[in-house]
């Protein structure tokens, strides 16, 4: 067992342990924080498929996060007010079922990722970073100024959506849902990295010409990775909206894209469990530093800076060493 595998097991155990201890001590807010960490980690895992595996530095993943959130907000608000989403050409009703909402969130963000990816992947390097940012900003301004679903005010959903057999308003049960999804996606992402597709994608990141000579198209590989990545982040967005029972255009802002990226880099780019470590650390910092000073952003900034400058490879890279399986 390598050090990284050992570390991964510890990281995997941290969130549920925290949640269970908090449950035993009757500290529901700590469970909520652990849930938030699991959901943000999921968004990070999504980005990491494009970023770590495919080398695609997307600065616009907030677009998918927000689309997932709005999929939940729009469907649930129609269900809440008993008005259909559309009547012609065929009737579409709102829903309060999480499973349906997740499906819609995944499909919507995958389609958006397909369109954005098909256009953006024509560029590389900084241009790719900036064009993804531009798409994110477009959706942000659209969400703010489109009046139908609350504009900047966002949408409030008074009760969480339903999951068969569970009471989703109970913090520990909702945590179980979020963590369950994170576990499934982590497993899938791990398999993906080791599968033929993942290896080809990694190869395309390292040397695109060589991949072409064996008859694969880097563009197609990257596009598929971008779509999977967007869909996972969209699913995280739907869960995040359900956690807060609220969606707003903030989910689309470039700060959100930046934060998702911070989780990935903080934990370690390309490491399967990097986003889990990053999101957990970020939330821990947010809540401990916030208690120290009104100007806690200064300390957060300094800490991030130190990580980038002196802890290359992020948290996991520092602890587990520089070896990465697929590099």
């Amino acid at each position: 067992m390598t050090r990284e595998t050992l570390l991964n097991i510890v990281l995997f155990a941290i969130l549920p342990t925290t949640a269970l201890v908090a449950f035993a001590l009757d500290e529901p807010f700590i469970i909520t924080l652990a849930t938030k960490a699991a959901i943000l980690a999921l968004a990070g895992v999504g980005l990491n498929i494009a970023l770590g595996l495919g080398g695609l530095v997307s600065f616009g993943h907030a677009a998918f996060f927000g689309l997932g959130g709005y999929a939940m907000g729009i469907l649930a608000s129609h269900a809440q007010s008993y008005t259909p989403l559309m009547e012609t050409p065929f009737l579409i009703e709102g829903t309060k079922s999480m499973l349906v909402i997740w499906g819609v969130a995944i499909v919507a963000s995958a389609l958006a990722a397909l369109a954005i990816g098909a256009l953006s992947l024509r560029t590389t390097g900084v241009y790719f970073i900036m064009i993804t940012l531009a798409f994110g900003q477009m959706l942000y301004y659209f969400a703010i100024s489109w009046p139908a679903y609350g504009g900047e005010d966002g949408l409030s959903i008074y009760v969480r959506n339903d999951f068969p057999g569970l009471n989703t308003l109970d913090p520990i049960q909702f945590f179980a849902i979020a963590f369950g999804i994170l576990a499934i996606v982590l497993f899938g992402a791990g398999r993906l990295a080791k599968a033929r597709f993942g290896l080809a994608l990694s190869a395309a990141r390292q040397n695109a010409e060589r991949v072409e000579t064996v008859g694969l198209t880097p563009f197609r590989l990257r596009l598929v990775a971008f779509v999977i990545s967007g869909a996972v982040t969209g699913l995280a967005g739907a869960l995040f909206a359900d956690l807060n029972r609220f969606v707003s255009p903030t989910m689309f802002s470039w700060h959100t894209s930046g934060e998702i990226m911070v989780f990935v880099i903080l934990g370690g780019v390309g490491r399967l469990f990097g986003p889990v470590a990053g999101a957990a650390l970020y939330i821990l910092l947010e809540h401990t530093l916030g208690g120290l000073s009104e100007f806690w952003h200064v300390y957060l900034g300094l800490l991030l800076l130190l990580v980038v400058l002196f802890a290359r490879g992020g948290l996991i890279g520092t602890i587990a060493g520089r070896e990465v399986a697929h590099d």
Binding site: L51, V57, F59, L119, R122, T123, T124, G125, V126, Y127, I129, M130, I131, L133, A134, F135, Q137, M138, Y141, F142, I144, S145, W146, P147, W254, G258, M261, V262, I265, V269, F295, W296, H297, V298, L300, G301, L302, L303, L304, L305, V308, L309, R312
Partner: protein, 305 residues
């Protein structure tokens, strides 16, 4: 819409573009020479504006305020380069984005800690206040004409610096071949610090000039930063000429989009929704422009690679 109004709006678009150029020039210079994405460029803009507002408050002199803005932002830029940025040149863009994102947090909250949470006061000097009559009967604020003038002067200055001076030759050589220039005995790290401080000073100058007609507050740099990125991406990263063309394009698109789109939508929509839908599309216009340009020219209008 009358022709006069249209001309005035074109002038406004130009002026907005020139303001953007002051920001974008530094950003593109730093990227071109050092290959660095600097998200903290907006913070240097803010430093310039705050320094100008503070000095104008103490002395009452706008000229001194401008000097202070240049000095403060150049110093801040040089310090940041020495302490942080120079460790990032050989890193990938990802690390640069994260590190300079961290710098934004530090600068913003640090400024709030020093100056408080309320916006500061900085006004146009009395000699430049008020409008003047342009030929054709357009009443136009003098200060905005001055901004256009300063911006064009800076543009000329930067072109001259790059094309004609020794430093410019070194900069161009550095862009082309980093190892070679070091081998020729030129102190590359000193050159980098200078270029970074120069870019910072341009941002600070923009902050002070613009601060006089806008709001001097924490976070003022971020919207401008995003616009400046759009500009240099459209123009081609690293190209000063591209930054100038990109600035003007973005300035015109943003201004004329906001003015022309709502009435355009009103021709085929009910007036009440046309204003809000038109405004919604107008606020996305520059991003649509950017995507459009990149589809046809994936490395911008004047991008080399």
């Amino acid at each position: 819409m009358s022709t006069i109004l249209l001309i005035e709006q074109v002038l406004n678009g130009l002026q907005f573009g020139v303001m953007l150029f002051l920001m974008a020039a530094g950003l593109t210079l730093i990227f071109g020479v050092m290959g660095l994405i600097n998200l903290a460029h907006g913070s240097l803009y803010m430093v310039g504006a705050f320094a100008a507002a503070a000095v104008a408050g103490w002395t009452g002199s706008f000229a001194l305020a401008l000097v202070a803005a240049l000095a403060a932002s150049a110093t801040a830029g040089a310090l940041v380069e020495l302490l942080v940025i120079r460790r990032l040149y050989d890193r990938d863009h990802l690390d640069q984005v994260l590190a300079t994102f961290a710098l934004i947090l530090i600068f913003s909250e640090g400024t709030r800690w020093l100056f408080g949470s309320f916006p500061l006061f900085l006004d146009v000097p009395a000699a430049l206040a008020g409008p003047i009559m342009l030929p054709g009967g357009i009443l136009y604020p003098l200060y905005r004409l001055v901004i256009i003038g300063v911006g064009l002067l800076v543009a000329a200055g930067v072109f001259w610096l790059i094309a004609k001076t020794r430093i410019g030759i070194q900069i161009r050589a550095g862009e082309a071949d980093r190892e070679m220039i070091a081998a020729l005995g030129i102190d590359i790290s000193k050159l980098y610090t200078m270029v970074f401080a120069l870019g910072a000073a341009l941002a600070g100058l923009a902050g002070a000039l613009v601060g006089a007609i806008q709001s001097v507050q924490v976070g003022m740099g971020e919207p401008v930063l995003i616009l400046a990125f759009v500009v240099i991406v459209i123009g081609g990263i690293g190209s000063i000429k591209g930054a100038l063309v990109g600035s003007i394009l973005v300035g015109l698109t943003d201004t004329l989009g906001g003015v022309l789109l709502p009435p355009l939508f009103a021709t085929f929509m009910p007036a009440s929704s046309a204003t809000s839908v038109g405004s919604a599309v107008a606020s996305m216009a520059i991003y649509i422009l950017m995507v459009g340009v990149l589809l046809f020219k994936p490395s911008g209008l004047f991008g080399g690679k």
